[in-house]
């Protein structure tokens, strides 16, 4: 079962993107903080498909910023941390790491052979092919290694919170209202807002942010309304009510000043 990760969760900053590599962190943030991100990795058990994807989890800058502001995560310069971590690795640690991986591999092999024997007994005719396996538990074990030597120099590898697009207040507002948000490009909007975990619920809103004094093209409103109605979702437009003059303090993340409007195509 999932064990809760140590807080704050380190978010890896690599090549301009924010990634999570720890499955425990992914499950925890999804369960407790409604942060889903987008899975971008290949699942090693079924690698030739795009329906179910695996680690790493890619976070939007907005999501990373929100987690940092809530104090549950910090941003780590992963490239630097890895390089220095490996350089600082001593022979003893190295041996231990290899032994750990090998024992995990041996465990996996035992599991597999056990299961195989059961299968063989159950259905002798079934041809089993297969690789028993020695193994290497990459993602999970790597976290352990990273933490093991990352602790000493973690402090100076922390990066400032991510810069976010101007739609961030709306994002923070909807998140505070309990919505799960994901990037909305597939439905032609900025964010998709889900009433619950996207694993179990369809999204309700296509979200587009606007500045308070921004001139909106009426065509864009009609187009959004029709688009939303076409996919059985509401078109939601919103933004921070006051001009964000005071950048200090909670100015950016102040979700209270956000107003939202939902548009439906009436089709009369």
């Amino acid at each position: 079962m999932a064990s809760d990760p140590l807080l704050p969760v380190p978010i890896s900053y690599i090549a301009g993107s924010y990634f999570l590599f720890s499955i425990d962190a992914v499950t925890y943030l999804r369960r407790e903080h409604h942060i889903c991100g987008v899975l971008t990795g290949t699942l090693p058990q079924i690698p030739q498909q795009n329906v179910f994807l695996g680690l790493p989890l890619k976070l939007m800058p907005e999501e990373a910023r929100l987690l940092v502001e809530h104090g549950v995560a910090c941003i780590v310069d992963e490239v630097k941390a890895q390089r220095e971590g490996m350089r600082a690795l001593r022979e003893a640690d190295r041996r231990k790491y290899r032994r750990e991986l090998e024992s995990q591999g041996a465990h996996a092999m035992r599991l597999q052979t056990n299961r195989k024997e059961q299968q063989r007994e159950a259905a002798l005719k079934r041809v089993d092919a297969k690789k028993t396996a020695a193994a290497k538990k990459k993602a999970a074990a790597a976290i352990a290694v990273g933490e093991a030597e990352g602790e000493g120099n973690a402090a100076h590898q922390l990066l400032p919170p991510p810069t976010v697009p101007p739609s961030y207040p709306l994002f923070a507002h909807l998140h505070a209202e309990g919505y799960y948000l994901s990037p909305g490009l597939r439905f032609g909007c900025q964010y998709l807002a889900y009433p619950g975990d996207p694993l179990r619920f369809h999204s309700h809103f296509l979200v587009v942010a606007a500045d308070w004094d921004e001139e909106l093209d009426l065509m864009a409103v009609v187009a959004g309304g029709r688009l939303g109605t076409g996919v059985k979702k509401g078109f939601l437009i919103g933004g921070a009510a006051q001009p964000r003059g005071d950048e200090s303090g909670l100015g950016l993340g102040d979700a209270g000043s956000v107003r939202t409007f939902s548009v439906e195509w009436a089709g009369m």
Binding site: A15, Q45, M86, R87, L111, Q112, A135, K138, R186, D197
Partner: protein, 462 residues
């Protein structure tokens, strides 16, 4: 397929078009569906699970909470699955942080005596890898992982071999293979802070390999920003690889690599330019015969006189100039600018692919980051992008019959992959030539070939 059809029947069908294509990867799928696939067993079947049922909105029932926690547990289990390698047939790559380099051998080794011709290369000291890129043969300078025992089907389309029978991988290839559990990348000794005194331990003839597996996390850190790769390009690369396409870097990958794009289309275009030239001579001859009187001040556009066929009139009425994509570009346009450059060549799984001599690609892809470039590309950006692709006229048999197919296929085409934080949308942009499709000639042809009494009222829908 049967159940998507069923689903379409049961759904209140306001618009039938919404159900035509159900792309499962469009929305987050319930990971419980994945549990049907047994892990840690033989993967004889790996069919993609069916689309799960979802609820409309949360309610405080225990029932719903149970399903949700089961879904999350299934997702957790699926994602926590380890990558396992059999000790006998695992493929081990070694990370080469300084790019391609010849193998480093102990100078006292017997091998260096045996391979007399290779000795000068073998003498190159381990540390100066950057200077030796030319000696490795035709390996791409961005390659950063080499594999000494390349035994996998994947290497039919991935990697480049050097003179020592090692396969070198580009960063995206290495990362993709590592992710799918087909490759075990080891850290090189130069990166792990080896103590000099402990070289001796059970060395396996390779003094570069430290024997420490690289984690997925470390691999992302090492490769994801290397040699022009970025997370958007990698999303496109893995996404298409997972679907079975073969995908290689195009000459436009690097910002300064436009020299090769010109070469690419010159070969294809030669034959057609001539055709266009012949037609051009013919039309010039025709123009000389009957000079067009486009001056409407003196009379009707069609001209005064006898008109024996409608075609003449129509052709005289077409006074609006149009762009002919088959004509050779008069002036060299500014080269395609990033991000509107072709960075990937994509081949269908059915296209026979040879690494040594890649065929002309089935698709050309430019990758755009939706967060950095929020507006539609300008005409000059699109024009430059399309001009960097070879002419691809709609010539197949099916298209010669169907006007709409011809227009849609266009004369040049390119695919834009728009990436929004890991979500990829593909747009196909093609250069349609409406001016080349003379509708009046179409009608005349159709009337001649078959007599149609009346267009029958078609049944609505399909």
């Amino acid at each position: 397929m049967a159940d998507t059809d069923e689903a379409a029947i049961h759904m209140p069908s306001q618009d039938a078009s919404a159900h035509i294509e159900v792309d499962l990867s469009d929305e987050t799928q319930d990971f419980r569906m994945l549990s049907n696939i047994s892990f840690l067993t033989d993967g004889t079947q790996a069919s993609i699970p069916k689309r799960g049922e979802k609820d409309f909105e949360p309610n405080p029932t225990l029932y719903q909470a149970d399903i949700l926690s089961a879904s999350r547990q299934a997702m957790h289990n699926a994602l926590a699955y380890p990558r396992v390698h059999h000790p006998k047939n695992q493929i081990i790559g070694v990370y080469a942080p300084n790019g391609p380099a010849p193998p480093t051998l102990h100078t006292s080794n017997l091998e260096s005596i045996a391979e007399g011709s290779l000795q000068p290369d073998a003498e190159v000291p381990t540390t100066t890898a950057a200077t030796t890129t030319t000696t490795v043969g035709n390996v791409h300078p961005d390659a950063c992982v080499y594999i000494a025992n390349p035994k996998s089907n994947l290497f039919k389309t991935i990697g480049q071999a050097d003179r020592w029978n090692r396969i070198w991988l580009l960063p995206e290839e290495a990362l993709f293979m590592l992710e799918r559990g087909s490759l075990n990348i080891h850290w090189p000794r130069s990166e792990v802070g080896y103590d000099e005194d402990e070289e001796a331990d059970e060395d396996e003839s390779n003094i570069e390999d430290s024997g420490i597996p690289m984690s997925l996390q470390a691999a992302y850190a090492a490769f994801a920003s290397r040699g022009g790769l970025n997370s958007e390009r990698f999303s496109v690369y893995t996404g298409l690889r997972r679907l079975g396409y073969t995908i290689t870097r195009a000459p436009g990958w690097n910002d300064d690599g436009e020299d090769a794009t010109g070469i690419e289309d010159s070969g294809l275009e030669d034959g057609r330019k001539q055709g266009a030239g012949l037609a051009g001579i013919y039309s010039r001859f025709m123009q000389w015969l009957c000079p067009p009187s486009t001056n409407t001040a003196l009379g009707p556009v069609a001209g005064v006189g006898f008109h024996r066929s409608y075609d003449d009139i129509y052709s005289k009425l077409s006074i609006i100039p149009w762009y002919d994509p088959t004509a050779a570009p008069q002036a060299a346009r500014s080269p395609a600018q990033a991000p509107y450059r072709v960075v990937f060549h994509v081949y269908k799984p059915s296209t026979p692919f040879k690494k040594s001599a890649p065929p002309p690609p089935d698709f050309r892809i430019a990758v755009v980051n939706a967060r950095a470039h929020t507006s539609v590309p300008t005409l000059s950006q699109l024009g430059a992008l399309l001009e960097s692709t070879p002419l691809d006229p709609p010539t197949s048999e099916k298209m010669s019959r169907q006007l709409y197919m011809r227009l849609r296929h266009g004369y040049r085409n390119v695919i834009l992959a728009v990436v929004d934080e890991g979500v990829v949308s593909y747009l196909r942009i093609s250069e349609a030539a409406f001016g080349k499709e003379k509708l009046y000639k179409q009608k005349a042809l159709a009337n001649k070939t078959q007599y149609r009494p009346k267009p029958k009222p078609k049944p609505k829908g399909r």
